[in-house]
Symmetry: C2
Subunit: 263 residues, 2 copies
Amino acid sequence: MKDLSKLTPQEARLLIRENKLIVPTSGISKGHIQGNLAILPKDVAFDFLIFAQRNPKPCPILDVTDIGDPEPKLMAKGGDLRYDIPKYRIYKKGELVEEVTDIEKYWTDDMVGFVIGCSFSFESAMLNAGIPVRHIEDEHNVPMYLTNIETVPAGMFHGKMVVSMRPVPYDQVVRAVTVTSRFPSVHGAPVHVGDPALIGIKDIDKPDFGEKSEIKEGEIPVFWACGVTPQSIAMTSKPEIMITHSPGYMLICDPVDEDFSVL
Amino acid sequence: MKDLSKLTPQEARLLIRENKLIVPTSGISKGHIQGNLAILPKDVAFDFLIFAQRNPKPCPILDVTDIGDPEPKLMAKGGDLRYDIPKYRIYKKGELVEEVTDIEKYWTDDMVGFVIGCSFSFESAMLNAGIPVRHIEDEHNVPMYLTNIETVPAGMFHGKMVVSMRPVPYDQVVRAVTVTSRFPSVHGAPVHVGDPALIGIKDIDKPDFGEKSEIKEGEIPVFWACGVTPQSIAMTSKPEIMITHSPGYMLICDPVDEDFSVL
């Protein structure tokens, strides 16, 4: 099989659509951004969009589909949100009821799809700047934590922010802030640097999602708003139905990382 | 009367609410941002919000009110969009039908208010960086032009982008780009530098809105996405009713300019 990192986003999405590529998407079509997915019926999609607008750090919306139209035109021209993601999760009233490889039977004419920015993009910026990313080095999932940071509510949606953590050497913390600040539409600058207790994290070695990252001597934990927040919020808020990607199985998008830098 | 530039945003909004201050808002509560206003009924507000999400440079949304709730909580805590703007315009099917000082009789339970970023904030950044702003020097309205730049459509909303123009000395063009890039939520970096014809502007001395700015020897015209775009688009798209501020009579908001810099 062709080197997956060299597939164009269109080639990758087509293989996924044909169920020939049911794998975590990290590393596929290298350099292109990947997106988190949330699909909701129109009656709650407006509230969700307002929620995202009020909470741009955890919920940076990259694309919203027209009502009933499965093509995310800005992020994946010619794409189809019903088939182009390797694995989906179906939530009903906040409960996970099924994992599927397409959502044909769940898609209805009033569905609205949201593509939400993902930390892969700013991690590339960190690596390019010579800042180590522990969970990439150690090949495990990033550690994520539920915090005491309130989001701004909208309609039925409300709850606390989820953050991801990366340990950064003291002398590279400022650089980590500046390089990630360039990417406000993929979470941007950190939300907190240092003491986890100040944002309500009791045990840094016990993440609520993902896996623990080792914090070495001379490193400080740095926290970014996390794209799991909208899923967590929507699950807490219990809409009748919500469809998401399965963690790690993302939408491979057309733009490249640098398309999202503001400077 | 107290120096208007020193009023707190709350004091200014209260005077406006009581019809004691019916003047253009430029210079009032100096340092605080001001916002463009658009109010639409819920049935088209969702499309408008998607339109704004797809066109963040001309339509940077700073706040969206809950359906039927006139308080823009993020931008003006305790504020009321029905009274807190000195002068409003009522459009029906794209036609201006009335200018009023409050919108009590037009407000309905399904109204959604949008506060949209305004160029005042990035002009402060330019002035702070020592870059002259011609229309402020010459005390006239900024020149604005309808371009051939297509916006990304959403539902009933579609059309061309409106830009504003500021002449910048050649040796300060790069600096003008970098300082305004820091403010993506108030239009951010320019959309075009140089030849007006390339973006469909036939005569730079005949702006479609506002007044002509003199371009002096050694200066180049620099174009930014303009907050008049959403009004222009909505007027072209002819929704049943749309309420906006009157040009120059803006919402005075709580945050200060620097609250919107990403770096």
